[in-house]
Subunit: 534 residues, 2 copies
């Protein structure tokens, strides 16, 4: 694990590539879907990539853990968004950091802050590097003398486990698989699995308000945070470890979602769970997506708290290998470590029947239903998805997702308007119909979190601009119809224009006031959450 190196191009670590079967599956899918020929462009090799010489010299205070080595700078230039991929394919590493520092402890972070404040250098915290919205890109405007990407993945220990209260004190740079493996030995799990889990770090998930795999009850990582330890440029902020509190606005909630603009989360006490042993689940078909949504609404208002209640509209289901392209699917899953889940599933199935859902009695009620069959296939595809992006970019296919949330009573119109805006945009921008489909990743008693996938056949050389044109229309529709710009992908640099429309101006002012006190030289992740100084 420790020796694994992040790829310069694509998802995951060097050596973890898609199989030839997967490559054939994904490329043939798009050859069938889109008309015309496909020009295949390959990303440049490391040697072929040119990057500007570092504008900074490593000071002696950082010499023990910082580097200006080309490969490290390339790896720390981008996250995993579409424009990240297109610039990598173009060999454009303009935003590359001048220095990459690998913090070994908090004093290393403090040393970086001290140097950065004195030398007028921007510091970009880098955890999993899996941002799909420009959160880790050292694009900070023209007012800094240079940039440091501060890699936190050496802060990768579980420091303490409290089995009684089911909590652990964990360093911010640990990745999800390493964390879960160690927790498993104690019969515990954080049970928070974003699609980025192979790369994602705990601190990064907290800083970006990550959403886990499970659909109800505990969705965002916010709920698992018991306390935080954050290193800011003016010192360390550490909250009491508490099950609940009413003592003023929550200190943790200011740091959760701060995206590296206020400080770096070096440790957290996280709430854990027992590993589930009881399961029940299955898949239900609906002819009408809005009836399916109604069923999901009622299930989510019943306090049954399914682990999964994932609505896939007909196109989304078909694209993921379920159904015939005319029916929507609702995947139901219940999990618990204490008591059997069949009664919960029975009640949920009664509800879906009320709304016209149909299911195969054998598969829907299998105890392993959500791991096997339809639901199991889904789980596998979910984890592999990020690996496919390189192959699609090679073909000139724009594939992206955006995610939002909306209250139930606005959902039907919201769905129609946002889907239509995205479809229109894909057609206008690329000259042929794109594929636009939707699923619910998370559901609340007051509304769903629709997650929209789109694919369009773009033009090499223009992919980034075509992508931006489609995404602009899509997010304009999201904001116009009252949805959030992001349910769990975070804001980063790419979502800032829409975040600015969603966020109350006075909250921006309050946040700026807080940042002034915590980061008085504005060295932390400039341009994220607040405009970079000009």
């Amino acid at each position: 694990m420790a020796d694994k190196k992040l790829k310069i191009v694509g998802w995951g670590f060097e050596g973890d590539d898609i199989s030839s079967e997967e490559h054939e599956m994904i490329t043939s899918r798009y050859r069938e879907r889109f008309a015309g020929d496909f020009e295949i462009r390959k990303a440049p090799t490391e040697d072929a990539i040119k990057v500007h010489a570092p504008r900074l010299e490593i000071p002696s205070s950082l010499a023990a853990f910082a580097t200006t080595e080309k490969r490290d700078r390339l790896v720390h230039t981008y996250g995993k968004s579409v424009p990240d991929y297109t610039r990598i394919f173009d060999g454009d590493f303009t935003p590359a950091p001048d220095i990459v520092a690998f913090a070994r402890d908090e004093s290393d972070i403090e040393a970086v802050y001290e140097y950065a404040a004195g030398a007028n250098v921007a510091v970009i915290p880098f955890g999993g590097g899996s941002s799909v919205c420009g959160g880790v890109e050292p694009e900070v405007g023209g007012s800094y003398n240079g940039t440091i990407s501060l890699d936190l993945t050496k802060l990768d220990k579980i420091l303490e486990i409290d089995k009684t209260s089911r909590a652990a004190r964990i360093q911010g740079g640990i990745r999800v698989p390493a964390m879960e493996e160690q927790l498993k030995a104690h019969g515990l799990t954080m049970r928070h699995f974003p699609q980025s889990m192979e790369l994602a770090t705990l601190g990064g998930m907290i800083a970006t308000r990550s959403g886990g795999h499970y659909a109800t009850l505990y969705t965002h990582i916010d709920d698992f945070v018991e306390s935080l330890r954050t290193v800011t440029p003016v010192g360390i902020m550490e909250s009491f470890r508490l099950p609940g509190s009413g003592a003023g606005p929550s200190p943790d909630r200011l740091m959760i979602g701060s995206e590296g603009a206020l400080g770096i989360i070096t440790e957290a006490w996280m709430r854990l769970q027992d590993r589930p042993t009881y399961r029940a689940g299955g898949a239900v078909l609906f002819d009408d997506v809005f009836k399916a949504a109604e069923a999901v609404r009622v299930i989510c208002q019943s306090a049954l708290f399914p682990a999964n209640v994932r609505l896939l509209d007909a196109d989304e289901a078909y694209n993921n290998g379920f159904g015939d392209g005319r029916q929507s699917v609702v995947i139901l899953g219940f999990e618990n470590a204490d008591h059997p889940m069949e009664p919960y599933l029975e009640r949920a199935l009664e509800i879906v029947r009320d709304f016209g859902g149909s299911y195969d009695d054998g598969s829907a009620k299998s105890g392993e239903g959500h791991r096997a069959g339809t639901a199991g296939a889904w789980r596998h595809a979910f984890i592999r998805m990020p690996y496919f992006k390189t192959a699609t970019i090679e073909m000139g296919i724009i594939t992206d997702t955006f995610e939002t949330s909306i209250t139930w009573e606005r959902f039907p119109k919201f769905y129609e308007e946002v889907m239509e805006a995205t479809r229109q945009a894909a057609l206008e921008v690329t000259g042929q119909p794109g594929s636009v489909s939707c699923r619910f990743t998370h559901c609340y008693p007051d509304g769903p979190a629709p997650y929209i996938s789109f694919q369009a056949k773009g033009r090499h050389g223009a992919l980034a601009e075509q992508w931006l044109a489609i995404k602009t229309k899509a997010l304009d529709a999201v904001i116009e119809h009252g949805g959030t710009v992001t349910h769990h992908h975070a804001v980063g640099r790419e979502h800032m224009p829409w975040y600015a429309r969603q966020r109350p101006d006075l909250f921006a002012a309050a946040l700026a006031g807080a940042k002034d006190r915590l980061d008085p030289n504005a060295i932390l992740n400039p341009g994220v959450l607040l405009p970079a100084r000009s």
Copy 2:
């Protein structure tokens, strides 16, 4: 309702007094509990109370909704804490506001801000007036020319109901009973019932991170807030109405718990629930309070989500009329609007048996268990409790409660140390043993929220100082052993010394930075959350 006037002395509205039976019950309880004679002192009548002449003249901009009438100023001088009662009994209304304004709409609030900023006057938001920690007292230090208490209870409308998403847009000044009555007509409820519910306003509950009656899952009001509209001195802040979001730190979470120091919450979209129709519950006895706590822990880690799982230690149970003073009681209640709760109760009873809990099979499994019998008696006493304070103060009895939370693994030592510190303090301060008992008001998977009640026989003329000496020792122990200074009573002015020890210094700095932007003249509730300017 609209004609009811708040009492100057004691809980509730004029005319809502305790019965002679209740008076006899409460006074005889303390005559039995404490040795010696009891001097009965009555509070002064309104006529006998002297209050300083207003230092401010009502400006024309406020003339339509502001007053300097004596009774209004007296009612808006204090909340309901012990030192509030003792000063009222002493006829000491030194902190009385110079003006009381009854805002009819947001523009009235803006007019108050404008006047206050120009005239260097502090503005104290006043909702239910039920603060037990000095949250509404116009004690603002010497740097202001005067104070205005800004009463918000005329903002008392439900503006919109969305039955599909189960949410409503509600004004901040509405009291809980009026709100619930209107929601009931739609089959809905917010299902958030703090002990102060007869007086408490929605905006006040949000500003103080109120805790409801129910013990698990949705405890603090935080979870019910879908969006907020807040009037600050620099303008209006309004968040999108969203079921969930990951777009930066939550704007609402900064205002939730801001205790009137950052703005006034004039409207909120609140998440509602269907009215429960299925119930199951009962009471379980334990010989050992720590075994009882273990049972409660396991129930709270099982995802059964009881509406109530209220542990009363032996003294607390006895003081509330249950048991023989040697056994602890765990009150269990399950409620749901969708499906029967008996299976949930059955599983919880299996768990309590594992820890040696015993119960009467008939009463424990009654479908109305938590409303009838032991649990029903509890509910009634809970609501009446605040009415008894006047009678105890008349007798010179100090009765107070404080509430905290702590993780499970620290609970046994925390309980012993905090209880012992409080007992010792009561003995040292009053010369005879006090009564100190504990219950869990709320329970989380990672820890309980212990709520500690103490009664001590004080000395008229010294009650406030005796109370402070006991509470100081108690809260010192709470903070020293890692608990929160308040789980749901809020900070106010009285908890500031301990809040300052609990709150990270850098969060105080961030909060000060936010306040600078939202309340640049520092007119809002000075001394709450942040020190008043000197």
